[in-house]
C-alpha cells in the first residue's frame, strides 16, 4: 500500500528542471511556451524548479557541446534519485543538424541515460506537454520506479 502511495505521489508531482546543453534556443522557447497559463502545466503538478536538488525530471535541449558535457553530468549527478530525463528536440535526440560538428559531442544519450525523447525542430508546446504526460504514464504502468 505504501509503495502504491509513493508511486501515486511521484506521478502526481513531477518537478522539472530545464537545461540548455547547447541548443539554438528554439526548443527552450517552446518549453517555456509549454508552461504558459494557457496550457497550465500545474494541472498535472508540474512546477519549474531552479535547483537540481529539487527536481525530478531533467528536461534537456540541444546537442551536447564538449564544453557542456561535464556540466550536464554534474547537474544530473546532483539530482536526487529517482530521476528521469526528457530530451526535447531533434538535436538532443541525435545531434540533429549539428551532427559531426567539431565542438559537438552528439545526442544527450551519449552522456546520460534518457527516459523519453520528444522529436521535432522545435516540437510544439503541446507535444512537449504530451511527452511529459506519456513519461508519467509509462512510470504508472510499471517501468522503472
Amino acid at each position: 500500500m505504501f509503495k502504491g502511495l509513493v508511486k501515486w505521489a511521484r506521478i502526481k508531482s513531477p518537478w522539472i528542471l530545464h537545461m540548455n546543453c547547447g541548443s539554438c534556443n528554439g526548443c527552450d522557447i517552446e518549453i517555456l511556451a509549454a508552461l504558459i497559463p494557457r496550457l497550465d502545466a500545474e494541472r498535472f503538478g508540474v512546477l519549474l524548479k531552479g535547483s537540481p536538488r529539487h527536481a525530478d525530471v531533467l528536461v534537456c535541449t540541444g546537442p551536447v557541446t564538449k564544453q557542456m558535457k561535464e556540466r550536464l553530468k554534474r547537474v544530473y549527478d546532483q539530482m536526487p534519485e529517482p530521476k528521469f530525463v526528457v530530451v526535447v528536440g531533434q538535436c538532443g535526440s541525435s545531434g540533429g543538424i549539428y551532427q559531426g560538428a567539431y565542438g559537438v559531442e552528439g545526442g544527450i544519450d551519449k552522456v546520460i541515460p534518457v527516459n523519453a525523447y520528444i522529436p521535432g525542430c522545435p516540437p510544439r508546446p503541446d507535444a512537449i506537454a504530451d511527452g511529459l504526460i506519456k513519461l508519467l504514464a509509462s512510470i504508472a504502468k510499471g517501468g522503472n520506479p
Binding site: L5, V6, W8, A9, R10, K12, S13, P37, D40, E42, R43, G45, K49, G50, S51, R53, H54, D56, P80, E81, P82
Partner: protein
C-alpha cells in the same frame, strides 16, 4: 476517590486529544496542506489557469519524503538536518497557545502573546541557519538576505500586534479576545494595525512582493537551494504551517478569534462552533494574503527596507499613538 480518578483520566484524554488530533498536530498538518492548496489554486485562478488538483500538496510532500537523502559535501550535517526540524517544532508549539476552541488556548497565561510572537521568529532563524550551513554560495547569500530583512518586517509586526494589548491593558490573548467582543469599537480603532499586520506577515512568510530571499531569477532558491527530499518537505510544511499560525494570530488579535462564543450544552458543541468561527476568520486572513500575493511583483531589497522604515514603522507608531490616546481618555 475513584470518581476523581475517572475525571482526571478524562481530562488527560481530552488534553491528549487537544495536543495531537484536534486542534493539535494532525489538524494543523492537514490544515496547512489545505492552505497551500488554496494558495496555489486561487493564485492560478487569478492568472486564468486551472490550478493544481486538491491533493497536490500532499502528493508533493509524499514524493519529497520518498526521495533520496542528499547531504552536500560542504554542508554541516548536524545543522543542515536540525534547521527544518527546529523551525517546524517552533511553529507547532506556537499553534498550541492560540485560543482556538474557546477564548483560552491549551494553556493561557499573562504574556502568551509575546511567547507566540517569539516562537514565530524562530522559523526565520532556522531558515537563515539552514541556508548558511548548506555550504552553497546561493544558500549563504539567501540566508544573509533572510537575516537582513528580518528587522524590516519584524519591528512593525511586533509593534502592531501589541496595539490591541495596549488598548486592553493585558498581554493575555484570552483577555484580548473577550475584551474585543464586548467592545466592538476596537475593530475600528485597530483597523490600521490590521492592515500593517497583513503586510508585515506577508514579509515574514517571504511571499510576494517580499520573496527576496528566494528570488528564483536571482539566486536560484535562496536558502533552500541545497535542500532535497525529506528536509525540503519539512521546510515546505513549516512554511505552510507558519502561514496558518500567522494568519490565526492576526485573526485572534484583531478579529477576536473564536469569539463570539455561543454557550451550548454539552460543552463540546460550543467548542466546535468556536473552532469553526476561528477557522472562518483565519481563512479570511489567508485569502487576503493570497490576494496580495497575486496582485504584486517582487521588489528589491533596498526598496523593501526603505518601504518598511519610511511607511510601515511610522504608520505603526501612529497606530500606537492612537491606542495610547484612547487609553488616556479612559478607554472605550
Amino acid at each position: 476517590m475513584v470518581c476523581r480518578k475517572g475525571v482526571e483520566s478524562i481530562d488527560i484524554l481530552l488534553t491528549l486529544l487537544y495536543l495531537f488530533i484536534f486542534p493539535g498536530f494532525i489538524f494543523l498538518f492537514a490544515f496547512s496542506l489545505f492552505t497551500e492548496y488554496l494558495d496555489r489554486k486561487i493564485y492560478a485562478r487569478m492568472q486564468r489557469r486551472v490550478g493544481p488538483p486538491f491533493l497536490q500538496p500532499f502528493a508533493d510532500l509524499v514524493k519529497l519524503s520518498a526521495k533520496e537523502d542528499v547531504v552536500p559535501e560542504n554542508a554541516e550535517r548536524f545543522m543542515f538536518t536540525a534547521a527544518p526540524i527546529i523551525g517546524l517544532a517552533a511553529i507547532f508549539a506556537a499553534f498550541l497557545y492560540l485560543p482556538i476552541v474557546s477564548s483560552t488556548g491549551l494553556h493561557s497565561f499573562n504574556g502568551d502573546l509575546i511567547v507566540v510572537l517569539y516562537l514565530l521568529t524562530i522559523p526565520t532563524l532556522a531558515m537563515f541557519l539552514g541556508g548558511w550551513y548548506s555550504g552553497n554560495v546561493f544558500g549563504q547569500k539567501g540566508g544573509m538576505r533572510v537575516a537582513s530583512l528580518l528587522f524590516s518586517y519584524e519591528i512593525p509586526f511586533f509593534l502592531t500586534l501589541l496595539t490591541p494589548a495596549l488598548i486592553e491593558g493585558s498581554w493575555k490573548m484570552a483577555d484580548i479576545v473577550t475584551f474585543e467582543i464586548t467592545h466592538p469599537l476596537v475593530f475600528i480603532i485597530s483597523f490600521l494595525g490590521f492592515v500593517i499586520g497583513l503586510i508585515a506577515l506577508q514579509g515574514k512568510l517571504e511571499r510576494l512582493p517580499f520573496d527576496i530571499p528566494e528570488a528564483e531569477t536571482e539566486i536560484v532558491a535562496g536558502p533552500l537551494v541545497e535542500y532535497s527530499g525529506r528536509r525540503l518537505a519539512l521546510f515546505r510544511l513549516a512554511r505552510d504551517a507558519e502561514m496558518v499560525v500567522g494568519a490565526g494570530l492576526l485573526a485572534v488579535v484583531f478579529l477576536a478569534g473564536p469569539e463570539p462564543i455561543v454557550h451550548l450544552e454539552p460543552v463540546y458543541l460550543s467548542w466546535i462552533v468556536g473552532a469553526l468561527v476561528f477557522l472562518a476568520k483565519t481563512l479570511f486572513v489567508i485569502f487576503l494574503l493570497i490576494l496580495i500575493k497575486s496582485a504584486v511583483a517582487r521588489i528589491r531589497t533596498d526598496q523593501m527596507i526603505s518601504f518598511a522604515y519610511k511607511w510601515l514603522i511610522p504608520l505603526t507608531l501612529v497606530q500606537i499613538f492612537i491606542a495610547i490616546i484612547v487609553r488616556f481618555l479612559g478607554g472605550i
